[in-house]
């Protein structure tokens, strides 16, 4: 029997009801599709985390704004170098326990594991830059209209072929 992942295993009762309501109201739509154009061993791979991860030298995500207005989330994004580790970053997502990623960033954004896959020639290379934004944006317009196009420009500049998105 193959594993069937239970989406609700680690959710509290209230969050489970909310997520179920969101799933029920989702409208089917056409699925974009870009086939892999070359072997993974020739691909440049980038990671994107919704953990609200930012370099300590960069502007933190706006937690206070979300505390003031719980319906709002900071729609900006941050760029992370491929060598970033837990020592270099803050983790600002208010819906997760950041302590694990602050011990070892790889449990949320596996940059070191990706570099090891580059060394092992499983992938072509880890991209020069990787990205993070805040999850739980109830009104995603600014995220989608401003942050995502900017991230796409960065990805193109770095000639990224494959993107792995890691929810927090």
């Amino acid at each position: 029997m193959n594993k069937q992942v239970d989406s609700f295993r680690f959710l509290d009762y209230l969050t489970k009801q909310v997520v179920k309501a969101w799933i029920d109201r989702a409208v089917p739509q056409a699925i974009p599709w870009m086939p892999l154009s070359k072997p993974l061993a020739d691909c440049t791979v980038a990671l994107i985390s919704s953990g609200g991860i930012a370099l300590k030298t960069d502007r933190p995500f706006d937690q206070e704004g979300e505390r003031q207005n719980p319906w709002w989330g900071d729609p900006s994004y941050r760029v992370l170098p491929r060598t970033a580790t837990a020592h270099d970053v803050g983790v600002y997502h208010l819906h997760i326990d950041p302590s694990f990623a602050l011990q070892d960033l790889n449990c949320l954004l596996p940059l070191q594991r990706l570099l090891e896959l580059e060394e092992a020639k499983v992938i072509g290379r880890s991209a020069l830059h990787h990205y993070s934004f805040m999850g739980y944006i109830l009104e995603p317009k600014t995220l989608l209209d401003e942050s995502v196009p900017a991230i796409i420009r960065h990805l193109r500049d770095d000639q990224v072929d494959v993107v792995v998105l890691v929810p927090a």
Partner: protein, 118 residues
């Protein structure tokens, strides 16, 4: 996350989400999805569990290589070692929206409908 993935795939890159709420990610019609039953904050595994994190990342990339149909979902076989009550899956303080709903429970239908009060 799924909405962001759709935009990036549409821009010409091959994408996969590694999601621990796969039913929600799949509901926005993403091209590729690897489902994992791990708690929040540790999507790849426990801190310092290099082997475990690597196994998840490798499995995700392998799924991406093998998937040839839009909307493919692969349930990864990994099992979290702790039961949900011991997994410390929640933030140190309740998220602002949860605190708000305690004081304004009549706003719950707004949240369920993603109808943000003005």
């Amino acid at each position: 996350m799924g909405l962001v993935q759709r935009e990036i795939e549409a821009a010409g890159m091959t994408t996969i989400a590694l999601s621990n709420i796969p039913d929600l990610t799949a509901s926005v019609c993403v091209p590729r999805l690897a489902a994992i039953e791990y708690p929040f904050g540790r999507t790849l595994g426990m801190p310092n569990d290099k082997e475990g994190q690597m196994a998840v990342l490798r499995a995700t990339l392998q799924a991406l290589v093998e998937m040839d149909t839009p909307g493919s979902v692969q349930h990864l076989p990994f099992e979290w070692s702790e039961p949900p009550k011991k997994a410390r899956a929640h933030p140190p303080e309740p998220p602002p929206i949860a605190q708000h709903l305690r004081k304004h429970p009549w706003h719950l239908p707004n949240l369920m409908a993603r109808n943000v009060p003005k």
